[in-house]
Symmetry: C2
């Protein structure tokens, strides 16, 4: 989930000097319109310590007209609050219509920390997240706009940041012993956070994950997103309000400033696409891994551990080839490959997940999906077959679907087969020339290629929202087919081994 | 919650003979239109054994064209299903577009029974209900229409029904030892059910509670509701679909048949409005109860147990008088009365619950609300100040709000002060004549009186949906003021006593 926020994205001084004043101006103008709007804005900042939560709130106070702003941070409940239900203090502090309230961690703080410090169980944690969902849903149903930012720093980046702060006598007071203690629990914290974000990104209040290391980047990112969300919300309300005259509904949405100041940096752009594996080494490892898989899959069958493998990737990225290298490692009576194409008329008359549920393996068996339910947030999104509302809620639906698999002792492996655009071009050309591969190349492949950037943005968001602790994405550098196949086989074997170790323990 | 389904509602043979054929015809016609519709209908029957779940499904199979129907009942999972996530078999059985699927208990069965038999904890039960919510939300988001009926029988009615079945040699096989065992657990069953219904009535798939004792009544009630829900859904989809031509959107909604075949029987109509208390007895008991309240409220203060009392009722039903009889029993430093009128401009710029949250008492204190958050589902509903969508979701919001209070050790007492329309007329006339009471009577009171039936329907639904195990409504027969005041005081004292006993234990 946070892989996409550890890409070391930066904004240069010049870039910032050009964009920031425009953004600031537009935000200020929007705030003036907002003053008369029939809803308040709640901006919630959660995240890792040191990722710039309070700095960003302070900066937005400088940028905006502070008379219409509220900012709230929460420590231990006061006596007033401790004696009332835990949400009382948040209800008390809600901003009225027309104002923006900035909330620091707020209702997310205690549930996450209590889980990290094992004061609550998973079920109790879920219960608390549920209350949060109800609380936020009550507000958004009442037209409140909730914008939630999760400010992220990688484990090492956080350490660095703390050391920086400690070295400067002016800021050293900000790093407390407790911060280092929490840093030690970085992984627990990430796991709890991921669960919280996954569960509370439903509905009208999704989280925006922001890479917090570079101040200029995070500022433009937060301010741009906030601006866009306010404009969209105003527009949507106007559109849905029957009283609104048609002109009123036309609040302009387009902004010159994309809310992602560095759209060219995605998780895919960070892969080392030169990775390679020489032939002799490949043959050796392939045989070894197929043997290992054979053994593991038999153990899995006995232990009742199922496996679901999903392949996604660029056209011609080698999904089929990789699948063919898995098959020899499996007992064909206990495994099946399901190729996913456009839904049939029958499938189309069901929920889009229905056709995948049908093929969920029985205990101990394996299903390999050649393309998968992720079509919803990839091709259906890019080609407009699904509405924005449909693919937006699909992330939560998919996480929920996979969580059900995982808690039913299923190993879930998800592969994104990645090749560069150049490599794809070469492969297309080669296919054109080979009679036995020509059929594989269709008009559609060329059309998809033209939408490369749109697909890349969709892949990036898909990984951000669905790579979870329970069901992680594996990004496969597949310019070299041998390297890719080995990585796939190894990942499956490791996943099985881990799950089987759990069963034994 | 089930009080409103124990009113002994019946439909006469003549009435049934007149209405049933029309309803049947209209259902059949609707089914034909439905065949081309872009959504399936899921009709789920839950409820008490013997309340007519399967009889109703059978009858609807006779009424409708069975070629487009599916019916599913679930026992223990088959080997096929047991080896997959628990929702797999429900996904498998979903009806495609255009068809109606009848599901018997289905995904509600195991979670409720496991809770009743203590195989799961409250938190685990909530977790399972949560999964149900996600499952249903996924479907309704995809336009599936879900209609859920809870067929109810009171404890005694269920016993009677079992005995009837046992006496008839043709049906005696239907009553198993297990049924009697479950009957012994009637209260546990009701509590778990209530929690399930409260939690899963959110969103687009609300429960309809049907009194199951009279076959004709339940048939008309279920068939009528089903017809209305299908028509509404078709209409809403047509209205929201942009492609739909304006004519298409005009699916007629009005049906001659109200889905409640006996609207004149409400929970209020069952109260014994002649209840009375003679003056000498009243004075004695009043003094005694005020003393008891005094003692209890001091104990509550020490124990940190808070009290929230909400008064609703007809105009001139004696809310103020009842409140004045409570006050002497309380320490005025620790209690406050909050009169609720139309929201101020300030209050109006917040969520409607905000102004009630503000007055939640600190630990050990008491707040009395003279009218309350229930205005949302009463006056705001009847007068159209809230949209249907707003007041429909308010039931869940209110249950959630009160659950937070209760789990924070707050005694929640909710009183509906009930008088007959005649009594109200008399009181209005008397007020007109008394100079010091004349101010109490406004134009609005007369206008409200004209909408008596609409209010009565709203009150009935309010009680059905918000009288929960944790926060039960007390209906006060208030034609006699002395009787009413004593009942109110007694209820508060009992509530405090019960909560304090819990604290000691």
């Amino acid at each position: 989930m946070f892989d996409t926020a550890e890409l070391d994205r930066k904004v240069s001084k010049e870039d910032y000097a050009e964009k920031a004043p425009l953004l600031r101006q537009e935000l200020l103008e929007t705030q003036i319109i907002l003053k008369e709007a029939p809803f308040p804005v709640i901006v919630l900042f959660g995240g890792v310590d040191g990722a710039g939560k309070s700095e960003t709130i302070n900066l937005l106070h400088e940028w905006l007209d502070p008379r219409w702003l509220i900012a709230r941070a929460y420590g231990k409940p006061t006596e007033e609050a401790a004696q009332r239900p835990s949400f009382w203090r948040f209800w008390r502090d809600l901003p009225p219509h027309g104002r923006i309230g900035f909330f620091l961690s707020a209702w997310y703080s205690d549930p996450i920390l209590n889980r990290v410090h094992n004061k609550t169980s998973d079920a109790e944690f879920d219960e608390e997240l549920d209350q949060i969902l109800n609380f936020e849903k009550g507000l958004t149903d009442d037209r409140v706009l909730i914008v939630k930012f999760w400010m992220h720093l990688g484990r090492d980046a956080q350490k660095e940041r703390f050391q920086q702060l400690e070295e400067d006598p002016l800021t050293s007071w900000r790093v407390k012993e407790k911060d280092w203690e929490n840093w030690e629990k970085y992984d627990d914290f990430t796991e709890a956070t991921e669960r919280a974000i996954t569960k509370t990104s439903r509905g009208q209040a999704p989280w925006h994950i922001v890479e917090g290391a570079d101040e200029r980047y995070r500022t433009l990112s937060v301010a741009g997103t906030l601006l866009e969300r306010i404009k969209r919300h105003t527009q949507q309300l106007a559109a849905s309000s029957e009283e609104a005259s048609p002109e009123k509904a036309k609040v302009e949405l387009s902004s010159d400033l994309s809310y992602n100041p560095t759209p060219e940096i995605t998780i895919l752009s960070q892969l080392d696409m030169t990775l390679n594996l020489p032939k002799p080494e490949y043959s050796e490892r392939l045989e070894e891994l197929q043997g290992r898989l054979n053994q593991l899959s038999r153990q899995a069958q006995e232990a009742g551990v199922s496996t679901v493998i999903a392949f996604e990737g660029w056209d011609a990225a080698g999904k089929g080839g990789a699948i063919r290298r898995i098959i020899p490692g499996l007992d064909s009576r206990l495994s099946q490959v399901i190729p996913i194409t456009a839904p049939s008329a029958e499938e189309f008359s069901y929920h889009y997940l229905w056709r995948f549920w049908r093929h969920i393996p029985m205990a101990g068996r394996v299903t390999i999906f050649d393309r998968s339910w992720y079509g919803r947030v990839l091709v259906e999104r890019v080609e407009g077959y699904a509405t924005e509302e449909e693919w937006m809620r699909a992330y939560a639906e998919i996480n929920d679907f996979e969580a059900q698999l995982v808690s039913n002792r299923t190993v879930v492996c998800k592969f994104w087969m990645n090749i560069t655009k150049e490599e794809q071009g070469d492969r297309f050309e080669r296919r054109k020339k080979l009679p036995h591969k020509k059929w594989k190349l269709t008009e559609e492949d060329w059309r998809n290629r033209e939408k490369w950037d749109a697909y890349e943005a969709a892949v990036n968001e898909m990984i951000e929202r669905t790579s979870t602790f329970r069901a992680r994405w594996t990004l496969v550098e597949a310019n070299n087919k041998r390297f890719a196949r080995i990585k796939v086989l190894e990942t499956i074997c490791d996943g099985l081994e881990k799950e089987l170790a759990k069963s034994e323990a």
